[in-house]
Amino acid sequence: MPTLLDLVRSVSFLAAMPAVAGLLITAGILVVARDWRLNVIALTVQYFFVVLLLTRQIQLEVAAVKGLVGWLICMVFYLTERRADALERPAEIAEPVPAQRWQRWMMSARASFHLLAVILVAVAAYTAALRIPLPETEVPRDITLACYLLAGLGILLIGISEAPMQMGMGLLTFLSGFDLFYVALEPSLAVAGLLGGVSFLIALAAAYLRTVQAAGSAEEGAA
């Protein structure tokens, strides 16, 4: 049976620019998409790429624990959104919106605007990685770019949305970007544990507010 080390080795070819590209795509999806299933999947894959990049900076076991915390957070988000979806569905059924099949493939003005913002932030992050590099002795160039991308797109997501889950995902994306940088400076287990605790509490707070929102919608629907 392959060990964790074997599994990571088999995908280690991704732990450079491909992972950075993956982070850009997944964080971009979080900003542009509003479908919770897509967002939860994007966040799960984002944590996979973050773990891949982390394996170059810290011990594999610590990176794996950080990944596990991330995937647990995704599980919390998934269960919360499922419950919220179930609570909100009766209200939606009461007012059905007829949707044409072709409309699903059309990009809304909001999504187009958000995509443009993602591209602008990506260009800004690339420029920042070239002009304001993080200390190269600690953080390689591609990871610097990943840090700036995640931090920038996380802040963008926080800025454009007031929905609890989107804001939670934005905060976690921002923290992942910072974590990629900070583990190189302070690889201690205490900091890793506390940062994991912080991420988990943020996820719980966002999930709690989403539940409150869904319960409110359900009450309005019932009334």
Partner: protein
């Protein structure tokens, strides 16, 4: 032997669990447990000796000064932490007491105790840098308390969490920059970077202009007393952390831009608060802008860069809870009578006759936060104006005008509160059926009396603030 630091961390957490369980069936007992725990820990922090163990229950001993290791980091309760911890616990006790009458079944009680544990860790952990992580955890936990029952998700809680998260990297990276500077003292740009990062991080944490949006949001749409907890206990912990940073890294205080930056940001907060407070239609956001003026005044006081300035900051921190807590209690009482929604000016018509004690709380709270006479806030605001007058008369005048401006905003609501409700026949009627009980009246009277007492006899609090200021030596001689 039980370490004092551990006691301050673990006891509130344990009580939070008990209070959470009791809250559903025995809300009064839960509230009094929260009040009692906070008061007991406040007295323990203030009075128990640090250098010798004290006999406690079951033959156990409590050694307040003994350090304890947590995840390889040291937690230690020192002499300089006494007043800070006492401030956190006593303020929390006062807020829990008010919440007993104005938010009896709120999650605020258990979450507030949990927050006390995390904020204690923030002040006791060494090195200081890890405090930022506990502060961030506290912000995330505060979201649960800030969410009012039956209302839309709190924007304020999310914004508070967001700004605290954005402040986290700056504080953590500063530690690394300073360690690097210790190895290579020639690289002075490391100090500049560290100063800028710390300044931005603390501006985010304190809600300084232009990062003040979370302050008004927290005050506007959250559970009022939980919002006040964040703006007094949470903000107080940040202030003590800032003072600890300035004490640990004294070069920060001697940075050329330190004084003008603090004063400039403080004045900006005062001006923005003064301009926007009277224009608010919602009482909650008005409280937020009043808190902004008060924080601005504290920054201006710190900008004096002297022992007097630090004394005034600490005095301001110790009297702020009177104003904000009374306003929050009053807002909570009024909200309960308009169905738990936002309290707009037009909703308040004649409410003063139905909720007289909430109205009294609003008026006396406003007097204190505006720094006007016969209130706790006056003692601090007047002393600051006198300290500023010789060197910066303009700032002193701004401060006085800001206080009046906040009071004008509250006065407009007060006049609406006392309007006579109109009957369907458009005839004035005064229903003499106040719905607030005697216990509510007693609690409001106690807090108002304490506020007026501190306002009339500031010599009770001022020497404590001054002696605590004496433990900080970073300011210019």
């Amino acid at each position: 032997m039980i370490s004092g630091a551990l006691l301050l961390l673990v006891l509130p957490l344990a009580m939070a669990g008990i209070v959470y369980i009791l809250l559903r069936w025995l809300s009064t007992l839960a509230a009094w447990l929260a009040v009692g725990t906070s008061l007991a820990l406040g007295f323990a922090a203030m009075t128990l000796p640090l250098d010798q163990p004290v006999q406690a229950w079951g033959g156990r001993q409590i050694a307040m000064g003994e350090a304890v290791t947590f995840l390889g980091r040291e937690l230690v309760f020192e002499q300089s932490d006494r007043m800070a911890m006492a401030f956190l616990f006593f303020t929390a006790a006062g807020l829990f007491l008010l919440a007993w009458r104005f938010a009896p079944r709120a999650l605020f009680f258990p979450i507030g105790l949990g927050l006390l544990s995390l904020l204690s860790a923030t002040l006791l952990i060494r090195p200081l840098i890890y405090a930022a992580l506990f502060l961030e955890m506290a912000a995330a936990l505060a979201v649960f308390a800030l969410q009012a029952e039956g209302r839309a998700p709190t924007r304020g809680g999310l914004r508070y969490l967001t700004f605290t998260t954005l402040a986290l990297p700056g504080v953590l990276v500063t530690h690394w920059l300073l360690e690097r500077y210790a190895v290579t003292p020639d690289e002075t740009e490391l100090l500049s970077s560290a100063s800028i990062l710390l300044a931005v991080s603390f501006a985010l944490l304190l809600g300084a202009v232009p990062f003040h949006t979370w302050v008004t949001a927290v005050a506007g749409d959250s559970l009022p007393l939980a919002g006040t907890f964040v703006l007094t206990v949470g903000n107080g912990a940040v202030w003590f952390l800032l003072l600890d940073f300035l004490e640990t890294y004294p070069w920060l205080g001697s940075y050329p831009l330190f004084t003008p930056l603090l004063s400039g940001v403080g004045v900006a907060m005062i001006v923005i608060g003064a301009l926007l407070a009277p224009a608010q239609r919602r009482l909650g956001t008005l409280i937020g802008y009043a808190a902004l003026v008060d924080s601005g005044a504290s920054l201006v006081a710190l900008g004096l860069n002297s022992r007097l300035g630090v004394s005034l900051v600490l005095l301001s921190l110790s009297v702020r809870p009177f104003g904000l807590a009374l306003l929050a209690a009053g807002l909570g009482g009024l909200r309960a009578r308009v169905g738990g929604g936002d309290v707009m000016t037009e909703d308040l018509r004649g409410m003063g006759w139905q909720a007289p004690w909430s109205t009294v709380a609003v008026v006396f709270g406003a007097l204190s936060i505006a720094g006007l006479p016969i209130s706790a806030g006056f003692a601090c605001r007047w002393a600051l104006c006198r300290a500023l007058a010789p060197s910066s008369l303009g700032t002193a005048l701004f401060l006085l005008v800001a206080g009046v401006s906040v009071m004008i905003g509250v006065w407009r609501r007060f006049s609406v509160l006392l309007m006579r409700p109109r009957s369907p026949e458009d005839r004035s009627v005064i229903p003499l059926n106040p719905t607030e009980g005697r216990l509510t009246a007693a609690v409001v009277i106690v807090v108002v009396a304490a506020s007026v007492g501190v306002g009339l006899f500031p010599q009770v609090v001022a020497p404590l603030a001054d002696s605590l200021a004496g433990t900080y030596t970073f300011f210019l001689p």
